[in-house]
């Protein structure tokens, strides 16, 4: 799923200064699972903002809506009849939802309420970790199912580098150690009795399907109507 994290309320308040009618718009998908932009987080943010503005002596109306998805025309249509009454919408969906909102409702001011972080998994409640960078040409078949593009700090295709120490990457996140992606790959190949494959050179990668190639598209003629 897409993992996002809440933006600081101060930042959101900054966007909203001077607005009178605000909609906080949540999304029921990924951001609900990672507890950044679901119905509950919409409620918390809305309540905090209401109190903030009241305390400032300002009359600001703050409504709450959580859609099934914000990355689909169909669900976004649900607010068409009311969206015009707002002079600002704070979307707690991922960056995709925010943009889809902006594309669909041209004259509405739309602000992001979360920082969209990565494609990842829930390891446990309160801990999400990255798994994929959507490079567009998956090479997991050769790496025992562990992705060096997203899990090696240098996205080495023929790792590890010399900095891998007792299973940990040379890079730390603050004080937190992170696993060396290549140690994971080697361990996995070994468990699968495929360590001999380690010596096969991974050729220079075609990154044109990655971010480098510009905005990407998937076109499926068989599905188009």
């Amino acid at each position: 799923m897409i993992v996002a994290d809440k933006k600081p309320i101060e930042e959101i308040i900054e966007y909203l200064k001077g607005k009178q009618n605000i909609l906080i718009l949540g999304c029921n998908e990924c951001v609900t699972v990672c507890e950044a932009g679901g119905k509950k987080e919409v409620g918390v943010l809305a309540s905090a903002l209401r109190m903030y503005f009241q305390n400032q002596g300002e009359d600001v109306k703050i409504d709450e809506v959580t859609l099934e998805r914000q990355c689909d025309h169909e669900y976004l249509e649900e607010i068409r009849d009311r969206v015009d009454q707002y002079d600002a919408v704070v979307s707690l969906a991922c960056g995709v939802g925010v943009q889809f909102m902006a594309e669909k409702y041209h004259s509405t001011h739309i602000y992001p309420g979360v920082n969209t972080c990565f494609l990842g998994a829930t390891e446990e409640r309160g801990l999400w970790t990255e798994r994929c960078q959507a490079c567009g040409q998956c090479i997991l078949a050769t790496t025992g199912g562990i992705c060096p593009v997203s899990r090696c700090a240098k996205r080495l295709l023929n790792g590890p580098c010399g900095g891998s120490t007792t299973g940990k990457c040379e890079v730390k996140k603050g004080d937190e150690e992170i696993d060396c992606g290549w140690q994971l790959i080697v361990d996995r190949l070994q468990a699968l009795d495929r360590l001999d494959e380690y010596e096969t050179l991974c050729p220079v990668k075609d990154w044109s399907t990655d971010r480098a190639g510009g905005p990407r598209k998937v076109i499926r003629e068989d599905l188009k109507q």
Partner: protein, 311 residues
């Protein structure tokens, strides 16, 4: 392994069966060329080639290529270090051609430390290709005379291609396979990570010999003399992929402070003398970090001086 493929002096010395000696100079954090030329002056008669580091530990410095050109203009033999962290395949190939235009004949292909260690931790990294693929790229440009894109290169680079190897990094199971992989990619010489754990290095060499790898690549053992007990501890605990055994740390710590640097040099000399006897060690890479003046003494004390001259 004896047929020489490039005009590299380093390659010729190795091919002739001599133990080669290389050292390195770190470029300054400024534009004064004298920093490089002075360091080079100190060591030039005692080494066969001088590596110029490429923004080592991700701290922004004068570029490796320009520094190599300064050495070349002094009539010395530079080894151009190149990391894949900061340049994409266009820039890498372009810099290789630039270096070749100054007849720089040696290159060391590296991935580079992560930028979080340096002065621009908020920067992007590139890693369009990795060090293994950079080896392939240089060999492709040299041997096929072609760019990665397939077009012909007019006057292709003539470079002796090297890489680093860390006999101590984890996971241990793949330390030797990784060397084999670099050889398969086309590497011709290796400069290892600093060796303090001689037993472990000898074990690694033995495993490499078992696969005949020492006959396919020249392995230069890397050494960095310790300046103090503090440095030994720092290397042990803080530098990723470094293996400093407890007895080395203890030996430094047990030495009175004013004698520690001397002891560090002694350890370095003893290590070289021992490693000279290890089959498959083709030479030494002495990385005296900001301590270049000590290199001549180490080379002389270990019987590696005078350096061979080529006819």
């Amino acid at each position: 392994m004896t047929d020489v493929k490039t005009p590299s002096k380093l390659e010729k010395i190795l091919a002739a069966g001599h133990l080669a000696v290389t050292s390195e100079c770190g470029p300054p954090r400024g534009s004064d060329p004298e920093v490089i030329t002075k360091k080079a002056e100190m060591i030039k008669d005692h080494v066969d080639a001088i590596n110029i580091t490429d923004n080592q530990t991700s701290v922004t410095r004068m570029c490796s290529l320009a520094s190599c050109i300064h050495l070349k203009q002094m009539g010395l033999e530079p080894v151009l270090q190149m990391v894949t962290r900061d340049r994409n395949r266009i820039a890498l190939q372009s810099d290789i051609l630039g270096a070749a235009s100054f007849d720089i004949y040696n290159i060391l292909c590296l991935s580079g430390d992560h930028q979080s260690f340096g002065d621009c931790p908020q920067g992007q990294n590139v890693h369009d290709i990795d060090s293994m693929q950079l080896i392939q790229t240089v060999r492709h440009m040299r041997d096929e005379g072609k760019f990665l894109g397939g077009d012909d290169i007019k006057r292709p680079p003539q470079m002796f291609v090297g890489a680093a190897a860390n006999p101590f990094a984890d996971p241990f199971e793949i330390r030797v396979p990784r060397l084999a992989k670099k050889i398969a990619a086309g590497v011709e010489f290796i400069q290892t990570q600093c060796i303090y754990n001689l037993d472990k290095f000898e074990k690694w060499m033995e495993l490499a010999r078992d696969r005949g790898l020492h006959e396919k690549v020249y392995i230069l053992a890397g050494l960095t003399p310790l300046k103090s007990a503090g440095m030994a501890k720092y290397m042990k605990n803080r530098v990723p992929g470094m293996d400093v055994p407890d007895d080395v740390v203890k030996r430094m710590a047990d030495t009175p402070k004013e004698k520690q640097s001397e002891e560090g040099i002694k350890i370095c000399i003893e290590s070289i003398l021992r490693l000279k006897e290890v089959q498959g060690v083709a030479g030494f890479h002495i990385m005296a970090i900001e301590w270049e003046e000590k290199v001549p003494g180490i080379v002389e004390e270990t019987g590696l001086y005078p350096r061979p001259t080529l006819e």
